[in-house]
């Protein structure tokens, strides 16, 4: 698969990353290599195989509907880069 500039910019935008044109050239090559490496898997015939959602064969791991104490607010906000009125604070987002 050819990775063009548009694809790379789309992926970068989804990951909120910014690159210079020089970086983009290098990353396009990297991405192309990664994809062709993974493409090798397409050579296998998997038409008879059920898709593997999980590699471990276990199911139905549940907890009961019980309330336990939450964390103290101060502890929850301890790592917040910015906080105000007991809330996490981030740069203004406008919908």
């Amino acid at each position: 698969m050819r990775v063009n500039k548009k694809t790379l910019e789309h992926v970068a935008n989804l990951a909120r990353l910014n690159f210079t044109d020089k970086e983009k050239e290098k990353l396009m090559l990297d991405m192309e290599n990664i994809i062709s490496y993974i493409d090798k898997l397409n050579e296998l015939d998997t038409s008879e195989i059920i898709p593997t959602d999980h590699v471990i064969p276990i199911k139905n791991i549940f907890r009961d509907d019980e309330v336990l104490d939450s964390y103290p607010k101060d502890k929850m906000l301890m790592n917040a880069p910015s906080k105000e009125d007991g809330c996490f604070k981030v740069p203004k987002v406008v919908e």
């Binding site: 791991i61 907890r63 009961d64 509907d65 309330v67 964390y71 809330c87 996490f88 604070k89 203004k92």
Partner: protein, 498 residues
């Protein structure tokens, strides 16, 4: 009733206002907060409100290295909803990550279900203008709710409260089977009634427990292809849904009539201004890159588990409505309104059985009880007296202890005082006066004070008789036995004529 009428009127108005006839196609996505005690993947409480970030822990705030564990009740409630809405329950389903950056979602992904939802291919029957219509349900899946953002106009930042983050949701997606605001409203009402009956959500729209997104397109009548649709987000009242649907249909028709093209987009409804506006989200934002959630194992609902949940289902609104028509002889319309709310139906049924007079109970509930609830802004859950008290009130009328007019007054007092109707009637001296001696005095007084009416009656004016009866009732403040007043008055007048 008057509400329904005004909607129909709006619908007709816009059909008349355009030359070509259009029809609208509506599909809904309904998000419902489940009434579990704890969150979907951690043990924090789901209680509404509370100080900001006091219902949080490292799991629901997406701290690195934590592991979510699914709340079993969430699966049971989703399956219960699926069974109550005629869905096929998936024997095998899984959870997926839906990736997007928005600060209400601290992990930068929402755990949801993509290609293998828990329920599929169901339906609900709705009633609109006396006709039954089947609305298809495409799927029902489980997911987690997001946190609450607070924007301050003067501030440069956005504040976040993650108390709601991780509260379990089910998303119910319908087929594009609705064609009017009334049908969309009827669907939400029917769905809400079912969810309340099976007790999986409190469905409080004003608290955001039930939120509706409307997908809507229009097309010239007779055209087979769908028009381009828009999506309106987070409508949190039935009134908003109706207004938003009517407004968006009008807007789309105007765009088409103008020779322009409808843009597929998400729009936000402004309830105050009564208009929707484009949210102008970038197209990239819709690339969610779903992939299987590696931290959560598949959900397998075997036949045994499914049947156990099926057996726990209570009587549903449809079945209850049919029973009220057959067993209690209620008219279709009355049965539909009463069974629309579980609390109201429970109250009705209890009072109907205790009084052995379902029709009288139903008249009270649909008439004065509903009127008083409306005036006080209360719900059926908030009725301050018991069903037994209402049955007693009906009994007092049947026995002739009080008149229908007095019963209305007693009912008003039952809403205000914590007393049963018998006590109220006794304390306020509201019993019907059937003492012939007392009433004969009243009749004499009325006749001597209203000589003109007596004269009119003599000349054959029937109206005058009614007036005199009214005066006698007024004199006794509504307490006189009307049959007795009639008899005594007639005897006295005819006696005078002779």
């Amino acid at each position: 009733m008057s509400k329904t009428l005004s909607i129909i009127k709006i619908g007709r108005e816009f059909e008349v206002s355009v030359g070509m006839e259009y029809e609208m196609i509506i599909g809904l996505e309904v998000h419902v907060e489940l009434s579990t005690k704890s969150k979907i993947y951690c043990s924090c409480t789901t209680d509404f409100g509370g100080d900001a970030n006091t219902h949080t822990c490292p799991i629901c705030t997406g701290m690195p290295g934590v592991l979510p564990i699914l709340n079993k009740k969430v699966v049971e409630y989703a399956v219960k909803t699926g069974l109550a809405t005629n869905c096929t329950i998936a024997e095998y389903s899984k959870q997926d990550r839906k990736n997007y950056f928005y600060p209400d979602l601290p992990k930068a992904y929402q755990i949801s279900q993509y290609d293998l939802p828990i329920c599929q291919n169901g339906y609900i029957d709705i009633e609109v203008e006396g006709k039954t219509k089947r609305i298809g349900i495409t799927r029902i899946h489980i997911e987690e709710d997001a946190g609450k953002l607070m924007h301050d106009e003067h501030e440069i930042g956005t504040l976040i409260d993650y108390n709601r983050c991780g509260v379990p949701l089910i998303e119910i997606v319908t087929e594009p089977d609705m064609q009017s605001a009334q049908e969309a409203k009827a669907f939400v009402e029917s769905l809400r009634a079912i969810l309340q009956y099976i007790d999986v959500s409190d469905c409080k729209m004003q608290e955001g427990s039930l939120r509706v997104d409307v997908n809507l397109s229009v097309r010239p009548k007779g055209q087979k292809e769908f028009g381009t649709r828009t999506e309106m987000k987070n409508l949190n009242s039935l009134r908003s849904i109706v207004r938003a649907v009517e407004s968006e249909a009008k807007r789309q028709i105007a765009v088409i009539e103008d020779g322009k093209i409808i843009v597929q987009e998400t729009r936000r409804w402004d309830e105050h201004k009564g208009i929707s506006y484009s949210m102008r989200t970038k197209e990239e934002a819709h690339d969610y890159r779903y992939f299987p959630e590696p931290d959560l194992m598949p959900i397998v609902v075997d036949e045994k588990w499914k049947e156990k949940i099926r057996k726990s289902l209570p009587e549903l609104p449809d079945a209850r409505r049919r029973r009220y028509i057959n067993e209690f002889g209620l008219p279709e319309h009355d049965a539909l309104i009463i069974t629309g709310s579980k609390a109201l139906a429970d109250f009705f049924e209890d009072a109907a059985i205790k009084s052995n007079n379902p029709k009288a109970v139903s008249n009270f509930i649909l008439g004065d009880v509903s009127r008083i609830l409306n005036e006080k802004g209360m719900e059926a859950e908030d009725i301050p007296f018991s069903a037994e008290d209402l049955a007693k009130l009906v009994g007092l009328i049947e026995k002739g202890t009080i008149s229908g007019t007095i019963a209305k007054k007693v009912l008003e007092k039952m809403f205000e005082q914590n007393k049963d109707p018998e006590t109220i009637v006794r304390e306020e001296g509201l019993e019907v006066v059937s003492d012939e001696k007392v009433l004969a005095e009243v009749v004499k007084k009325i006749i001597s004070n209203n000589s003109q009416s007596v004269e009119d009656y003599r000349k054959g004016k029937d109206k005058a008789f009614g007036f005199l009866v009214g005066q006698a009732m007024k004199e006794t403040r509504g307490k006189a036995n009307p049959q007795l007043i009639n008899k005594l008055l007639k005897a006295e007048l005819d006696n005078k004529i002779l």
